[in-house]
């Protein structure tokens, strides 16, 4: 227990000397193991990725500092395709899951406190891993899946081939479905928590001042909810943008998302391709971090505006 160090005890009642010294250093002692661990793993990993992207690949032929691999990767014909495909999937999945999540959160708020089993039931997808959700989507939406069978019984199709390709498809519908199953409940859970809080504080005041229901929602609840929605948006976007497993397992064979592309480069026997792989890794990291920084600025802007409005 770091509460009382030997230092503090040796100081006795006069805690002004070593006691103060210890009080200054205590936070650093407490965070030291975590920071050391993160430094040796995460920071070192990013450093290693950058170095390898610049051509320092141990075991590969030439080890000179070069931007060659950046040029090669960026000039590749399908790089832009991969980049836009990755952004497209992340945007569609994130926008849809946030939209639906916010909608369900508002519906839940208006329906009053739900019983515990219902709240547990809708949070089931949050603990189910993506791999299992892929199995589910495959089972429900492949051409011989449950949805296709339902369409058959409803008379919409007469043969499984007529069912639209929703898994391994070029539009990435299967991928988006996996993310929706995971992320709509996540967005609902986070947004509903904040929404209940805000509503409890401002609903009566707003009604007393003569606001209508619509005004309450658009003028008070939504603006105050914005930081939460943005956080959820950012977390889900960053995740889908950098995710590997889902596009790898049920994405189209026609083209790859950037993380999948990085994986295939890395797995090639020729080690020089590791540099190309790391170039892609560095690029997706930079894009993700760029989003995080932009998010910080937007959040600050919104908070300044709402504060200004309150005055």
């Amino acid at each position: 227990m770091q509460e009382k160090s030997p230092l503090l005890k040796s100081c006795g009642k006069n805690t002004s000397c070593a006691g103060r010294l210890y009080a200054t250093w205590r936070p650093y002692i407490l965070v030291a193991p975590l920071v050391t661990f993160m430094g040796l793993t995460f920071v070192l990993a990013l450093g290693s990725a950058v170095l390898q992207s610049l051509g320092f690949v141990p075991g590969a032929a030439a080890n000179v500092l070069t931007l060659r691999f950046y040029r090669e990767v960026l000039l590749e014909s399908d790089f832009l395709t991969s980049l836009s495909y990755t952004i497209y999937i992340a945007l569609v999945a994130t926008l849809l899951s946030n939209l639906l999540g916010v909608m369900v959160a508002f519906v839940m708020l208006s329906m009053g406190q739900r019983p515990k089993w219902q709240r547990l039931l809708y949070q089931v997808p949050i603990v189910i891993p993506h791999l299992v959700v892929i199995v589910l989507v495959f089972h429900l939406f492949s051409q011989t899946g449950v949805a296709s069978r339902l369409a058959y019984w409803l008379g919409c199709i007469t043969h499984p081939n007529q069912f639209p390709l929703l898994v391994f498809d070029r539009l990435g519908i299967g991928i988006v479905l996996v993310y929706l199953y995971k992320q709509v409940p996540f967005a609902t859970m986070i947004v509903a928590g904040t929404l209940e809080n805000i509503s409890a504080r401002f609903k009566e005041v707003a009604y007393n001042l003569g606001a209508g229901r619509l005004q309450l929602c658009t003028q008070i609840l939504l603006p105050l909810l914005m930081p939460t929605i943005l956080s959820v948006f950012l977390i889900t976007f960053a995740f889908t943008f950098g995710a590997f497993e889902v596009p790898f397992l049920i994405g189209t064979p026609a083209w790859n998302t950037l993380p999948v592309k990085a994986f295939f480069y890395y797995m090639r026997p020729d080690l020089t391709y590791r540099a190309s792989s790391m170039v892609i890794n560095v690029l997706i990291t930079v894009i993700s971090l760029g989003f995080a920084i932009a998010y910080g600025h937007i959040l600050a802007l919104i908070q300044r505006q709402t504060e200004g409005g309150e005055r």
């Binding site: 990993a45 369900v104 329906m111 199995v135 589910l136 950098g242 590997f244 790391m278």
Partner: protein
């Protein structure tokens, strides 16, 4: 808001969409044949369940590995996160924001980048292909979640009870076991559960760092998914969900047993 019926339809179809797929998964595990237009399996049998769970030896190996790795990851995560979260939640110090950012950053950086970046280091350290290496990599991804929850808990609980106990003459050990731990137990439990689930669900990290030598449940599942053996994949999925739920229940049970009197259990 008006339209009560519309709202009910939206809410209940949402509930249906989250739960029905899991039920269909259970049906899938006991179906031996499911010819095309039929909505229910044409032949029911335990065949897949038995062959995967009882006859395939790798299943037990994978389950033991998965559980061991997740338990070790959870332990390492809490060991690193609890003191750090205390400092970040209770004290103002120079560099606090930087440390906070460092811990949360793995949520923003693609997992595959971190994994590939660590691959070489772990090979040099001789940790690639070992349980220890896999635990280290998983911990990078569980730390942000655990630390975030624990920071909130420490901010909420504050330091006043510990100080009071110290003033009343409690030893540092007593303060830890009788004051700090019971107070932060709810957060500790959810941090542990989250770490366990995140570690249990890892696929590509285990694939890379385990180097094919460490077999876990996700590593068994994926090849069957790729070859389209959906029933086998469904059995592994069910095993996956069940063992996660069992572990959560076990952790909650242990906490309840040892902290029966803790204040949070009544709330």
């Amino acid at each position: 808001m008006r339209f009560p019926r519309l709202r009910a339809i939206i809410f209940y179809s949402f509930l249906f969409a989250t739960s029905a797929p899991v039920l269909s998964l259970v049906v899938l595990t006991v179906s031996a044949a499911w010819r095309y237009p039929s909505l229910l399996p044409t032949v029911f049998s335990w065949r897949y369940l038995v062959s995967v769970l009882a006859q395939d030896r790798r299943t037990a190996e994978a389950l033991i590995n998965s559980t061991l790795i997740a338990a070790l990851t959870t332990a390492l995560t809490l060991l690193l996160a609890v003191p750090a979260a205390k400092a970040l939640g209770l004290y103002q110090f120079r560099g606090r924001q930087a440390v906070k950012l460092l811990v949360l950053l793995p949520l923003m950086v693609p997992g595959i980048t971190v994994t590939m970046g660590m691959h070489l280091t772990l090979i040099h350290l001789g940790l690639a292909g070992s349980i220890a290496g896999v635990v280290v990599v998983h911990t990078v991804f569980t730390l942000p979640y655990a630390t975030r929850v624990l920071i909130n808990v420490f901010e909420l609980v504050g330091e006043k009870y510990e100080k009071q106990a110290a003033m009343l003459g409690a030893s540092p050990r007593m303060i830890l076991t009788d004051v700090t731990l019971p107070m932060i137990m709810p957060g500790l439990l959810s941090a542990a559960i989250m770490s366990f689930i995140v570690s249990f669900s890892q696929y590509i990290t285990t694939f890379f760092i385990g180097g094919g030598r460490i077999l876990t449940v996700p590593l068994l599942l994926v090849p069957h998914l790729q070859s389209g053996e959906i029933q086998v994949a469904a059995v592994y999925s069910l095993l996956f969900i069940m063992s996660t739920l069992a572990s959560i229940a076990l952790m909650e049970g242990i906490v309840r047993k040892f902290y029966k009197g803790a204040y949070f259990l009544q709330t």
